[in-house]
Subunit: 283 residues, 2 copies
């Protein structure tokens, strides 16, 4: 049975539709929201999809309103699927105590520790529940997916993409948390959601995956050199070394003088959409 999607808002944009939906999530045990951009081409034929995973504190709105991606998606004929970054409103103890943990900081894992287990499953939500919902309700081509994201969402895109080369044709990221087992943000989240045994964290660490389970797909990554989180939290050099060790293809572009935010993302998002479009269409 197709799950119910409730349309929350819609607006015309570049000849297509920008929409937001709410639905009951089984994986997260609460209502979840996501945003969609459908290009003009989707009125006539199912289109391929790019899943975008956002960063700490974000909702489905940040990328929708700030990245300027609809223009490229309209021209290329791609749908954009933009989930929220965590369950919301569960009133779990500690859920809203910190900006970098809990609400807005699901870290794209399946939590195993109380009180998060059973709700904080953004991994299962993004990999399985959301695509099934999208592909049974919206005019997209089933199975024709790419994945990208920013910061915490870049970590999500890399780890999910590396683990599921069968489910995503292409993978990219902006300023991703490349080695969460070593970064303060990552260690805080992984220990709370998964417990103290670091071997359970490995499947959620892009650098560990790239070293130990490389895929044939090229990872396209843009990283600003003036990003204030670069050295302490993001650590692209760790991923670079891991890829070199295993032969994982990587195109890491250090963008001179760019920062961490959406003025950086909007500058290069067009090139990422072209990269994904080529992989999705064989162009």
């Amino acid at each position: 049975m197709s799950q119910a999607l409730e349309l929350i808002s819609e607006a015309r944009c570049f000849g297509g539709w920008q929409r937001s939906y709410r639905h009951r999530s089984e994986r997260c045990g609460c209502d979840m929201r996501f945003a969609v951009y459908l290009p003009p081409a989707a009125e006539h034929t199912p289109v391929p999809t790019l899943y975008w995973l956002s960063g700490l504190t974000c909702t489905e709105d940040n990328f929708s309103t700030k990245a300027g991606a609809q223009r490229y998606a309209a021209a290329l004929g791609m749908a954009l699927i933009m989930p929220d970054t965590s369950p919301r409103g569960l009133a779990l103890p500690g859920e809203d105590d910190a900006w970098d943990f809990g609400s807005g900081a699901g870290f794209y894992v399946t939590a195993t520790q109380a009180p998060w287990a059973g709700h904080y499953d953004m991994y299962g939500y993004v990999v399985e529940e959301l695509p099934a919902l999208v592909e049974s309700n919206l005019p997209v081509q089933a199975g024709l997916r790419a994945i990208s994201g920013h910061s915490m969402g870049g970590h999500g895109a890399l780890t999910i993409g590396l683990k599921h080369p069968d489910r995503y044709r292409s993978i990219s990221a902006f300023a991703p948390i490349c080695a969460p087992m070593r970064s303060p943000w990552g260690r805080k989240a992984l220990s709370a959601y998964l417990g103290d045994d670091p071997t359970t964290w490995q499947q959620y660490d892009a650098s560990w995956l790239a070293a130990n389970q490389p895929s044939a797909q090229t990872l396209l990554i843009d990283q600003g050199t003036a990003d204030p989180w670069l050295a302490e939290q993001l650590m692209p050099e760790v991923l670079e070394e891991a890829c070199a060790s295993s032969g994982q293809p990587l195109e890491l572009r250090r963008q001179q003088g760019y920062e961490h935010g959406y003025y950086f993302v909007c500058t290069f998002i067009g090139e990422h959409l072209e990269f994904h479009h080529a992989a999705l269409t064989g162009a």
Copy 2:
């Protein structure tokens, strides 16, 4: 003597710089903020400028983050100057009581009524103080200006542009308040800032100006047909009639199905920048 500009933030964007500044405003009698986008070309040669006036509740950030205009400005070699929409933090009685009046709702007039007179002079600020400040401190071509805006800011762009054909080469607007003397938003603001005599409101009404003081410049206006404020507040048909009566050139484009917000603005902002670029460069 050049006034002091304090740099609040800056970020690389499309090869140029997105910046925000704070400065003491004589017109408004308080500190004011504005945002600037400088295209890559400004590193080598002074560039023409587009002034963008935002709508109710907005600050200098809304257009900066949501319109996606930097991409076009970078390609065309134009600077964007984006002021706030009112004085802030004056603690005047009633300043923060309503979303459509006071803070965030300066309406681009020179207030004559207490307690607003001496502070709420967004007209003088936009027309004289801000350009003087910009042209003495930033790498722009003095006197080579265009003006545009959205909603309340569309009203500002049309009225300021019509009154000063010598100061602006071209004028455009998105979903402007075309006849503020007839709209509830306009009547509330004009009566409070200017008093009860409607003859003092005429210089701030685009339809009155177009009928009585037409200019030779074509007004380019985009208006979404699904805009919820269209009939009650915006009234493009009143401006259309005024332009027809006086011979004021008008290109009013009714965009089918588009709403009022930035998903509408971002769709057509590229065409507006091209329109202004042609007027500014004689291309």
